[in-house]
Structures are given as C-alpha cells and as structure tokens.
Amino acid sequence: MSTSALILIIVTWSSVTFATAYFFYKILTIPSKPEHDSTIEKSEKD
C-alpha cells in the first residue's frame, strides 16, 4: 500500500471512529434531563 494512501486511511478512519465513539459515549452516559416540557404545560393551561 502506498504511504500517502496509508496515512490518509489511518488519519481519516481513526478521526471518524473516535468522533463517533466519543459522541455516542456521551449520549449513553449523560443523564437525561428531568421531564419538563413547557409545550405541554402551556397546552394544559389552555
């Protein structure tokens, strides 16, 4: 494999994989916010 292709693959694949894993990990670990929806509250007032 040519050096330039190898460098592009390593840089691109590792960056994309890291970003995907990082953001999905945050989705899994950040606790959900308490149920508070102003839309529904307003609707109930109506």
């Binding site: 292709a5 693959i9 994309v16 994989t17 989705i27 102003s38 839309t39 109506d46």
Partner: protein, 507 residues
C-alpha cells in the same frame, strides 16, 4: 393556542439511532466509494470532510433546531415550521419542498430498497449458486426490465412493510426498527469490512488481495482538489448521505421536548453516519470487487458514480464463490442494504403523517396508509421505466434538496435571525457548540449553498429541456402535480388555522 405533541421518542438512544438510520442509506455503501474513485481517490476525502464541516454539521444544527422549534407549536412538517419562523406568508410554500421531496424520493427509493430485500431472499435461497458472472448480470438485467413478476411482488411487500411500521407510530414502529436495524447494519458492515480487507489472492479465487482495492480507493490524486466538479460532487455526497434538505430531520426533531438537547444528538447521529460511510463504506465493495475483477473492470463499472451495478450484479457471484460463508455474506450485504434503506424510507413517511395529523386531524395510522397509497401510485412509473426513475432522482432527489437547504439556511440565519437561532441551537445543549459555527451558519454555509446552486444551473437547464420518453414526461407531470397538490393543502390548512397560531414566535 399552543399545542401539545401527539407522540414522541421512547428514548434518546432510539432517537439518535433513528436519525442515524435516516441518514445511513444505500448511498453510504454504493455511492460513496464510487464517487471517491470518480473524483480523485483518497484526495476526495479532503473536499468531502470540508463540506461536512462547513455545510453538513451547520445544516444538521439548523434542521434539528428548526424541527424542535416547530414542535413547540405543534407543527411537525416544514410548511408550518417555516411559517412559524418567518413572518412573510410565502415561507410556508418553500416548506412544501419538505413534504414533496419526501414523497417523491420515497416513490423511487422504496423500489431500490425492494431490490435489497429480494436479493437477500435470493441469497438465502441459493439462487446465485453455480451461476457465472454473465448469468448473474443477465439475471439482474432481466429483473430490472421486469422479465419476471418478482420485482413487483417484492416492491409491494416492501411498501407494505414500510406502511405497516409507520402506522405503528414513532416509538412503536420507527424507533423499534432503528434499534434493531442499526446495530445489525453496523455488525454486518464490520464483518464484511474485515472480510474485504483480509481477502487473499489465490489460484482460482481472487486475483488481488483486498488491500489492493483499499489502496486504489485511498491513493490520493491531489490535483483533483482544484477541480470545481470534485467540490460539487463532495457537496452532493454530503447532502445525499446526511439526508439534508428533505424535511425528515425537522420532523424527527419536532418530537423532542422543548428543552431537550439537539447539539449532541445531531453530532452523534451525523458522525455515526460518517463512520458507516467513510470507514465501512470504503472497506467492502471496492476491496472485494477489485480483489476478484481487477482495477480496470471495477473503474469502468463505477464510472458515473452509483455503484449499483457492482452491488447487485457482481457481488452475488463473488459471494457464491465463498461456499457456505458466501450465503451468510450475501444475507449480510443485502440485509445491510435493506436496513439502510428502510430506516431512511421510514423517515420519509413521518413528515407526511405529521402534516396530515397537525393540520387535518388525520390519525397517524391513517396517515401512514395514505402515504403508502401515494407512494404506490407515484412509484409505478419508476418500476416501469428507468427514465421515470431518473427524473424523480434528479428533480426531487437532487435539485429540490439544494433549493430547500438554501432557503432554510437563509430563513434561519437571516430572517428568524442568528441571535434567536444561536440561542435555539444552544438551548438544553449537552455539549458546547464552538462559536465559529455561528459565523459559519450565518455566512459560510449560505454562500456555499448558493454557489452550489448557481453551479448546478447549467445542468438544470440542460435537464429541463432534454427530450425524454413518455414515462419521463409522466414523471415530470406527476412531480409538478404533487408539488401543486401539497401547496394547495398547505393553503387550505392555513385557512383553517386561527389568526395567530404562533403567539411567541411573532413577538
């Protein structure tokens, strides 16, 4: 008169997987590698990633924000999301694109999706076992030329599946499919990618190692970066792959709660799509096909940039040479394409159902069957003729996306206003959105989109005046009729609304 949301997402993971499923489609595995080979090999990744950062991510933020904003006023489709954001009466008619495009694209996309379903069946049934490459090719041509009743049968099954899942609602249908389909798709993709890369040349088998194909795909021709055509191709691929400019992201996001995060959700779904496209998409079809057919044959086949021919007419033969594992490989490859397809086509149905429910009080389940019926009727010309298919693909699947995206970013950044828009993006955000995106959304992305649109004008004029068959003209007539019909429905819906349906947005 602020309305409540009629239904919503069961979980955050379900929402992200459904959004990623909306974006991940057949193009991730077939179109991306073909486009890369056609546009500079590995160097294509540079304009591609620049377009992702300057246009893809900003538009994801914008579309998610617009959707959640509309949901706050009980609106889940773009005509009235636009209406709530812009004060002028004409914005809602630009929003018509967000219904029109979904219907028109679903009409031909479900047919493509049915190919993946039928090829999965043929793989299990061992239909391709013992066939030569010429026989598999002939089988494919016979299929798309309707030499058998199977295309129609599988298309109807596919339409029914889509409609039935949609009729079960967001959390009961779409989210469940995404939670099953996306992990399976990624698992199948990883197995096939490892198989592709580790392919070894052997007497009577592959003529090249899998690495040869990977090297060919990723070897950069840096001179291509200076070509306008390559940048347009990269921008087009970003649009296509992220499902931008369709209205489906707005619809999914409109079912979020008003303070729920959109920044992290958008980034997670967007990057998951990139992983499937850039990592898995580049490691399957090209390494395997070059492994068996050689560089010249594959380059010729992907010329034009669709990859459909290799995906359906070549890989089945290669898989059949792998013995028992070939059956699993065939099921995984076409199952992967089917999951990629159905998670996208489901996203095309939800804006239509949302529009009918919000404005005409039609239940979601009924809306799903109305959508299915329209897709059936509009899809008939695509099944009968490639000309009709091409017309739908070009006008609805390409041009309408660019127009819609150009309009929505101007509406968001310049009419709704970047101060309110930036606040909307950051409301409830679980990550800090870099301030540079405020500048990019206001200036860079609109200019980028206008340049892409202006660059496409010669092709629009050429295609508009190009002679076509009766089927092509029928498709054009149906597309215009569909747009007019949706615009009339929007007009009627507006008449039925009260005098000030969005009290807070007009202050």
């Amino acid at each position: 008169m602020t309305k409540t949301q009629s239904s919503g997402w069961g979980s955050r993971v379900g929402l992200v997987l459904a959004m990623a499923g909306n974006a991940v489609g057949l193009g991730n595995f077939l179109r991306f590698p073909a486009q890369a080979i056609d546009n500079g090999g590995g160097a294509f990744i540079i304009p591609y990633l620049v377009c992702f950062l300057l246009m893809g991510i900003p538009l994801l933020f914008v579309e998610w924000s617009m959707g959640r904003f509309g949901g706050r006023y009980g609106q889940h489709s773009t005509p009235f999301i636009f209406d709530a954001m812009g004060k002028a009466p004409y914005w809602k008619y630009f929003g018509v694109f967000g219904i029109f495009t979904n219907i028109a694209v679903a009409a031909f996309y479900c047919y493509l999706e049915s190919w993946a379903l039928s090829w999965s069946y043929y793989s299990v049934a061992g239909t391709f076992t013992g066939m030569s490459q010429a026989e598999v090719q002939s089988f494919f041509v016979n299929y798309i030329e309707l030499g058998t009743s199977h295309p129609v049968i599988f298309w109807i099954i596919c339409l029914f599946l889509n409609t039935w899942i949609l009729s079960r609602g967001l959390s009961g249908g779409v989210e469940k499919v995404a939670k099953i389909g996306m992990p399976l798709l990624i698992l199948f993709g990883i197995v096939l990618a490892i198989t592709g890369i580790s392919l070894q040349a052997s007497p009577g088998g592959a003529i090249n190692d899998g690495i040869v194909g990977l090297n060919y795909l990723w070897s950069p021709d840096f001179s291509s970066i200076w070509s306008f055509k390559v940048w347009v191709a990269a921008a087009g691929q970003i649009f296509f792959t992220l499902s931008l400019g369709m209205g489906s992201i707005h619809c999914y996001a409109s079912y979020l709660k008003s303070k729920e995060d959109i920044a992290l959700n958008a980034m997670s779904a967007g990057w998951m799509n990139e992983f499937v496209e850039v990592v898995l998409g580049s490691a399957i079809i090209i390494p395997i096909s070059i492994g068996y057919l050689g560089i010249e044959a594959v380059t010729e086949m992907v010329s034009g940039g669709s990859g459909l021919g290799i995906g359906f007419a070549v890989l089945p033969k290669l898989f059949s040479d792998w013995g028992t594992f070939g059956i699993f490989a065939g099921v995984m490859w076409f199952g992967l394409l089917f999951f990629a397809g159905i998670t996208s086509s489901l996203a095309m149905g939800t804006p239509v159902m949302g529009f009918l429910e919000d404005n005409f009080k039609i239940k979601q389940s009924t809306g799903a069957w109305i959508f299915g019926t329209i897709i059936l009727l509009l899809g008939i010309p695509c099944v009968l003729s490639q000309d009709a298919f091409n017309e739908y693909d070009y006008w609805a699947g390409t041009i309408a996306l660019v127009i819609f995206a150009m309009v929505e970013i101007v509406l968001f950044a310049w009419v709704f206003g970047m101060d309110k828009g930036w606040k909307e993006i950051n409301t409830g955000a679980d990550i800090k959105v870099p301030g540079i995106f405020r500048f990019i959304i206001k200036y860079v992305s609109p200019i980028f989109l206008i340049v892409v649109f202006v660059g496409a004008i010669p092709s629009i004029l050429e295609n508009a005046t190009k002679a076509t068959s009766v089927y092509g003209w029928t498709a054009r007539f149906l597309l215009v009729g569909l747009f007019v019909l949706v615009a009339i429905l929007v007009y009627i819906a507006k008449k039925r609304q009260g005098s000030n349906p969005y009290p807070e947005s007009n202050d």
